[in-house]
């Protein structure tokens, strides 16, 4: 098992906490806005979109909790801390994968006959992948598999775009770029947090870009729902 990075409570620690808080609050706002519209319309695409950000929020919240309570307070040499770390990492991976699945599905569901039935498959798939990562592949192989998943997500997003009616295509391309960047941000965060040591400067750039991506989506949500 490769060695894991140990954080210190220096300035970067607080930057990470603020970043996590921004992302969690942003995801919460997007989720509640989508839920409000879903309650009125019962439109499934809105539900899946909202779920994606609910799971992104859970993923970044678990990352936040891992950072403060598990790694910093207990430390990974403490057996209890190590157990909690693995459990927290499982939640982080599971929630991140669910977020990715729902985000792709929010655009794909229209082309399927029984979208609700397929949606339930996400949970076992995400739990299985996250468990396999943690039990067997913790380390550089995880990164490889995350990249493969990301590649799969891009392919799905591309195939969904091909299905879109040309009349509706205006502006959609930019949305897929945003989603792809979100996946990159999630993978980069997972990698930087748990697998590879990166410099503080690179961390700050990564956190800033990730926060901005979520804030751009929140801005688009507010713009679309304002009267």
């Amino acid at each position: 098992m490769p060695s894991l990075p140990f954080p210190f409570m220096g300035p970067i620690f607080w930057v990470e906490l603020i970043f996590s808080l921004i992302v969690v609050i942003t995801c919460g706002l997007i989720y509640f806005q989508a839920k409000k519209l879903y309650d009125i319309s019962s439109y499934k695409g809105i539900k899946y979109f909202g779920n994606a950000f609910l799971f992104f929020g859970i993923a970044f919240l678990s990352r936040f909790v891992l950072r403060i309570f598990v790694i910093t307070v207990f430390g990974l040499r403490n057996p209890f801390g190590f157990l909690l770390f693995n459990f927290g990492y499982l939640i982080f991976l599971y929630a991140g994968l669910m977020a990715g699945f729902y985000l792709i599905y929010s655009s794909l569901w229209k082309h399927l006959k029984n979208p609700e039935q397929i949606g339930w498959l996400f949970h076992p798939i995400a739990v299985t992948i996250a468990s396999v990562f943690i039990i067997f592949l913790f380390g550089s192989a995880t990164l490889l598999l995350l990249l493969l998943l990301f590649f799969f997500a891009v392919l799905l997003a591309y195939s969904s775009e091909k299905h879109i009616d040309k009349r509706d295509k205006k502006g959609i391309g930019k949305l897929y770029i945003l989603y792809i960047l979100l996946f990159i941000a999630f993978i980069a965060n997972a990698t930087a947090q748990f697998l590879i040591r990166i410099s503080d400067e690179v961390s700050i750039i990564l956190y800033t870009i990730s926060s901005l991506l979520f804030l751009v989506i929140l801005y688009r949500v507010i713009k679309a729902t304002k009267k």
């Binding site: 989508a34 519209l37 009125i40 319309s41 019962s42 439109y43 695409g45 809105i46 899946y48 979109f49 929010s106 655009s107 969904s160 879109i164 009616d165 509706d168 502006g171 959609i172 949305l175 688009r220 949500v221 713009k223 679309a224 729902t225 304002k226 009267k227």
Partner: protein
């Protein structure tokens, strides 16, 4: 070929027709104007009545009219936001 309308679009279309007819319209007139199959239309009307989006009114001659309830107006008011949201994120 025109795109198939979604459930939300069909509900919006029914409610909008009622509103545009001074909030009072007969069943047959609404069915014709909505351009929905008769079977599908009656299903939507039952759902809209049950969910209190529309209400049934009878005049002194016993003729049945439909009008929007407060909830129906609320849906129409929010529909633009719902539609914009769906378009913005290709949902």
């Amino acid at each position: 070929m025109p795109k198939k309308r979604s459930r939300v679009e069909l509900i919006y279309s029914i409610l909008k027709i009622i509103m545009e007819n001074k909030n009072s319209i007969r069943y047959t007139h609404l069915l014709r104007s909505s351009n929905i199959s008769s079977a599908g239309f009656s299903k939507y009307m039952v759902e809209l009545t049950e969910k209190d989006f529309i209400k049934e009114i009878r005049d002194k001659n016993g003729t049945k009219y439909y009008s929007l309830s407060d909830r129906g107006f609320h849906f129409l008011e929010k529909y633009n936001a719902i539609r914009k949201f769906i378009q913005e994120f290709d949902l």
